[in-house]
Symmetry: C2
Subunit: 259 residues, 2 copies
């Protein structure tokens, strides 16, 4: 039987709350077995861009990553957020190692093709170097990934952290029985967005289709659940969506997704 | 016989010159055997601090690293500079992995004790986790270290890059026959600071003492040479000081230091 691997993706709201982040890292450090943390950068990159007088560029409501914005993302995600998480995990006894997709050639992407919009330095993932990440895990390291990839030719790229988490989970199914946790500000996928307690505790392929048809999954949850079912369809065993208490292994309410 | 390990430390002036940096990385990627790159951040951190309105704090001419300055160092050294070097090396076929001393618990330091001056978040190195760095090298990774360490309790610290290079070199002598290269803007240690061609091609313990007595080694070269002889006295085989051409393996002039 394969060993288990937990991949925990934490969202921007957790990054911005120092106490909440520390609690999450404590819970993460107590998780058994091989594990990987993936983090976004939240509003910190936007804040830093504002301080530096770099305006966030938008086209049709979508964010554009120009060269200056990429530098800010590299500083904030790859530097400030990632290294502080790594140091805190070390303080909690977890032998963490900070990673972008460039480090160890772990995640190669290509600059998103220009169709209606040129998104700039945004990377769509081509390949996860599962053997490289596996060797780090085998050596006893706990990788902490930020939302950056590279094109293999020297260029860093900005890549959605949810996608990084699901692609890592899929890539590592060859070596592990993999569970993917999406940790964000809500208790799970809600039936009614204005009722925090309307968590749907289980979604499978069949109910997913119904929820889509009924329009219950919409807006930001659409790409998140797309990532979840992409992972499940590619041999990830289980996906869980919920708030930090889900990681604490308490009896808590969250959404479990299976095929 | 032990395998060879080359540790190359590159200075700020190389970091600031994009073409020069790329040439250096090309040369580094052609070096045979196990290797580690160590980089400072040069003026980029000061520039970024200025842009963010953070004044460099000085006491008695010594730089103080307050919490804000540390954040800038973490963003610039650990993020912008480190990740771009890693991506460029990947593009050159070298399987680099970016590291601070927190990553993999590789370099533990303590906050410098307050005597006459409180230097703030500056770390004096306590221990190199040679086994951890060795395992990365054995797996085929080429570590790229920035000038940051941690205290093992969750706090990042700013640490001189020359010292990081010499402590890594010393720590890894248990596993490798280690050569340390200090790569900076001059062709080597100069007998006459105003004559770029007055390179002293060889310094040993004996001539070092004489050079110190004659006042030929002074100012910024004092701590650099102190690091060199510290390394040599602790089983590092050879230390070389020179400009980038030294790494290119051309027949070139530079300073070699031995015991």
């Amino acid at each position: 039987m394969k060993e288990t691997l937990s991949i925990v993706k934490i969202g921007g709201n957790i990054i911005e709350d120092n106490d909440g982040l520390f609690q999450l890292l404590q819970s993460f450090s107590h998780m058994k077995g091989a594990k990987i943390l993936v983090h976004g950068g939240g509003k910190k990159a936007t804040e830093m861009g504002n301080k530096l007088g770099i305006e966030a560029k938008m086209t049709n409501g979508r964010r554009i990553t120009d060269a200056q914005s990429l530098d800010v993302a590299v500083m904030v995600y790859g530097g400030l957020v990632n290294k502080n998480i790594v140091a805190k995990l070390q303080g909690l006894g977890t032998n963490s190692i900070g990673m972008s997709g460039a480090d160890g050639g772990s995640i190669r992407a290509h600059k998103r093709a220009v169709q209606e919009v040129d998104f700039g330095f945004v990377g769509d993932i081509e390949a996860v170097n599962a053997q490289g990440v596996f060797s780090l895990l085998q050596t006893g390291f706990t990788p902490v990934f930020c939302a950056l990839t590279h094109d293999g030719k020297g260029q860093l790229l900005n890549t959605n952290a949810d996608t990084i988490a699901s692609e890592l989970a899929v890539g590592l199914t060859s070596h592990f029985e993999t569970t993917l946790y999406y940790c964000f500000e809500k208790k799970g996928v809600l039936r009614n967005v204005s009722d925090e307690n309307s968590v749907i505790t289980h979604i499978d392929s069949h109910s997913y289709k119904t929820l889509l048809e009924e329009g219950i999954i919409s807006d930001g949850m659409l790409p998140k659940l797309h990532n979840c079912f992409y992972a499940l369809q590619n041999k990830v065993k289980k996906v869980c969506i919920g708030d930090s208490s889900m990681i604490r292994n308490e009896s808590t309410t969250f959404t479990t997704l299976t095929l």
